[in-house]
Symmetry: D2
Subunit: 338 residues, 4 copies
């Protein structure tokens, strides 16, 4: 950490803060500049030392040097993590495709979805059984009944099942049916939930919160990894900005940035990331060109009659076309779509 002192901090203050640095278990190097004195605090500490120093008198700011996450970092594990679940593979040059409806609505709807997305090249089936809805008056999902239908779809098609879990006490039940546990964007910092999925050995798809920084995102992953579950995929699904022509703003530079910081695979969700079906196909191709290790795409056999997210759902035909284009891009770049 670099502790920047206020202009005119006295020698006594400088010594006092240097002692505080040493008390915190760090080594203090005082550097007297032309206008400011700074103290470099050297050592491997990430447990609140920054906050402690920021509140000392005459400290202007404290600049951290080390990343606050450890297990997620590329420094801890330089080779990419590859997630394999049934035929789904993401990471290390493999592009895993998850697709399906926003919500499980009926046996017919989920089976039809599964068949169609499999035919277009998906290896995992998405579908919500527990639905976090902005309004208490909206459809809240079929719950365990929906999970059973997902499992039946896997039975028939062999697709891995990815579905959201919303609360710690649901983890056991969801894990019984699902192959990949999804943590939704609204729950990215629901730490009790992160710890609960961290206790399972199921693969986890962790969605970025709409206002989360990259550090917060990686620290959320760290909560899961720290419990011993190494099977984490990071999912960029768009951030909240001033833009209103899309539902969220989808920053594909996240892919390359995360690949420089972490070994975990990075999945892109162009459906939530844009909010409009017509924008999804070009963003599928762009995500893979940016280096994404996978995609999760909303596909519904009949979008106008979907119980949720119809506007951003592709028809099976549009999804098949998008995958054909995306596959061309992947192949041009020497990568494989799964």
């Amino acid at each position: 950490m670099i502790v920047v002192l206020k202009r005119g901090a006295s020698e006594a203050t400088i010594q006092k803060i240097a002692r505080r640095v040493e008390e915190l278990g760090l080594k203090a190097h005082v550097i007297v500049g032309t206008e400011r004195t700074v103290i470099a605090a050297v050592g491997d500490k990430r447990n609140g030392e920054q906050e402690a120093l920021e509140s000392c008198e005459d400290v202007e700011k404290v600049v951290p040097i080390l990343a606050p996450y450890k297990v997620a970092s590329l420094e801890a594990k330089p080779e990419p993590t590859i997630i394999r679940v049934l035929d789904f593979v993401a990471g290390g040059g493999n592009v895993g495709i998850m697709a399906g409806p926003c919500s499980v609505e009926s046996e017919e709807q989920i089976l039809e979805s599964a068949r169609r997305v499999k035919a277009a090249g998906a290896t995992a089936l998405r579908g919500g059984a527990f639905k976090p809805r902005t309004s208490p008056y909206s459809f809240q999902g079929m719950k365990e009944e929906g999970l059973k239908l997902l499992a039946a779809a896997r039975e028939e098609t062999g697709l891995a099942v990815v579905t959201e879990v919303m609360a710690p006490d649901q983890v056991e039940m969801v894990a019984k049916y699902a192959d990949i546990l999804q943590i939704g964007a609204r729950n990215m910092q629901n730490y009790n939930l992160l710890q609960a999925v961290g206790e399972t050995r199921k693969a986890v798809l962790l969605k970025r919160g709409a206002a989360a920084t990259m550090e917060e995102f990686l620290l959320a992953a760290e909560y899961i990894l720290d419990m011993g579950n190494s099977q984490v995929m990071l999912c960029e699904r768009g951030i909240r900005t001033f833009e209103t022509h899309t539902r969220f703003t989808l920053p594909l530079a996240s892919v390359a940035y995360l690949h420089q910081k972490t070994h975990l695979p990075v999945i892109i969700d162009p459906s939530h990331g844009t909010g409009y079906a017509s924008l999804v196909p070009p963003m599928c191709a762009a995500a893979v060109a940016a280096g994404a290790d996978g995609l999760i795409v909303e596909v519904h056999p009949d979008p106008p009659n979907a119980m949720s997210d119809g506007a951003q759902s592709l028809t099976p035909e549009a999804f098949a076309a998008a995958m054909a284009t995306t596959r061309k891009v992947a192949e041009a770049l020497g990568r494989t779509l799964h």
Copy 2:
């Protein structure tokens, strides 16, 4: 709702969408404009009709007219809700003051905090026992032991206790000790948690998520109200923007806006809203001038040794001075500080 069709939508399409509107239980009025046709869909529906219509072919966009929340709205209850807990009062011209440390750290620390904030005019004591921390390596709170210390502080001082609850299965325990249950910003859309506090009859302090719109904020309150708990306070604690000179951006216009839409009291958190102790006092005064029904302020007897949030914590002396100034503003405006 207003359904805006794409330019050149055919008569057949217009009729098809109008029928879909009627199927959804709404009345359709077709208005043919010079460049666009729009269909006004009239009726009291808030359960996904917008999404359904948005995914119809040749629909450009759907504009909702009615607010999606009901019980929280001023239309449902025109007189302000007043929250009274022990000596704490917020709403209807009463400005309730909650203050105390970020975390409960020890008996001495919390008792000292309680005495000092009471002396300065606070009627509720804040203090975290379960702490949502960005990093798994940071101090996570004293848990039930912390709750017991808070209750002891209430015993001695008569201050109402406000503390955060992080998970549905903690609600019972926290409610045993606390007077006001706080839902943190990260959990504003943790719907299972909202429902769990909605099942209690304890007052709830619901913090706005850092990227939540006003509609999402009011709908989160609606989850609690919908369970039968009417004792909800809305807390604006700052939003995430591009600004970095403050920890968050604190939009005080939220107060006046919310007063035009809802009967629930509006509390301001200038500590998280700015992130720096030196910015907190002017924002206390400004919040009250803007019409806030209460404040929640971080105060620590020894900020440089605080285990969390030291940089934004006021000393007891600074808090007393801030309250003296804020009281002058309240009185000039004919309102009362509690």
Copy 3:
């Protein structure tokens, strides 16, 4: 426009507002809903009617239906505009590549840059002679001397020259040397400057302001088009969001969105859009996969000694590698790199 009235607006008020709608030259359709009355105001007006109606008593909000831009819209001209300047071509399936240093620094530097970017496949040379710099103490550009060096580089290489113009009274001078006039992001709403370049018949590269909406962006283009200059390219260069791990957030969905609204070509600037050289190559490929009609990339023969923007400049070698990859993506999608 749809005028939404406040709940409980009286019949007299409704009639008064309907009359105001008619006075403004629009036709009023009153629709009485279950909770709200709305008035549909039909007609082709875009000159302040919305603002006028918003300030009427008992109006809650006014929702525009028509886009406020005309000449830029796809409805006005369904076929894509193709910009051709020397060998540079953008639009209609052609991907034009502009590259070069942030600033012109010396004859040797700009000639070396020109040769290297041409060898890698660029058909236009970028380079700033008038530099808008955040600080008055930073290098402000070589001014006319820089323009002459750019012209010399065109002489030798045949590359089209794109360079920024910062003020209306510079337009004549810059147009004497440059082939494409760049309007920087800071000046996107400098209307006097937009009108001044609109009076020339030079191609214009209009950069999106860092906080501009799509409507504001297209209306800025409209200022130029409205003066009779149809040679406008829209450049997405990233928006300001809460993200700090990149300099700006680069939303590639802009490409697909703009292609649905306007006939103008869309160029991506991955250098400013990310701010870090290591993130630029994947975003070049992703931009083309998203459908971009061109790229503008900062390339410097010696980034650590660049007088501006070194951190986001590619070396010539890195640029050549990025173009090789990007070309593969373009070809896979049936498009041509120029």
Copy 4:
């Protein structure tokens, strides 16, 4: 500056970067940490050294220590700057009130506005003659004719005149009629314009760009100050965020922050900052409670017939009421409204 090297940077690299630091005229202190090496670069340099070092190989990031602005800083001038123009005074405990319509529309409108705002306590009259409008089809202002009407209103009322100047070549004409030159938010980084008003000796009201950081804002002021014009007021008018219930988000913490960094007075514009007349009065009071040195408020004798910004304009009656409340707050805090 603190130069943070990448993990594993070799001794040779460290030495090379240290030499580069010294070449740039700074003194290098190498600090070898447990995981990272950092180099503290000591000296008073603000001319691009950061960018130069960021582009060196194996540099992870460069953290500046000194603020990039000088003349604007409180360190350069610890006592507050007070702006006095006719009866208008802002700064040093004086709260200056500017009010009037968005645009000058007619002699009657501007004279009526001037009389009414003066009666309510304003000492300066705002009114636009050159109007930066998002759409080329909107009313663009009365231009010189409008300036003459403003001067006539000053003649009659004694109010100082504040009006916007949009281009360098308009400065001379506008300065002939106006007392205070306004730089609009869209032009905050129009450096040629900043330099042109810097060459006058008129007071300048510099509006913050909707996406400008505090550093960029102060550096824009620095452009004016650097030309020798010391009469600069900073105007916070709201920033662009994800919020849509207000036109912009008005961060009042800017006031206290700026007072800690600069001697220049800080003015608040609650009209643009909120966009709705009903939100303006509470934000007037809140701004003064937050420590603002002045307000600029849109007031129109007949908002529904205003040619621009009607929805955010107060009626003269509402303005008088807002000023009465705001005056109470100012007096409670020992400050004076002008």
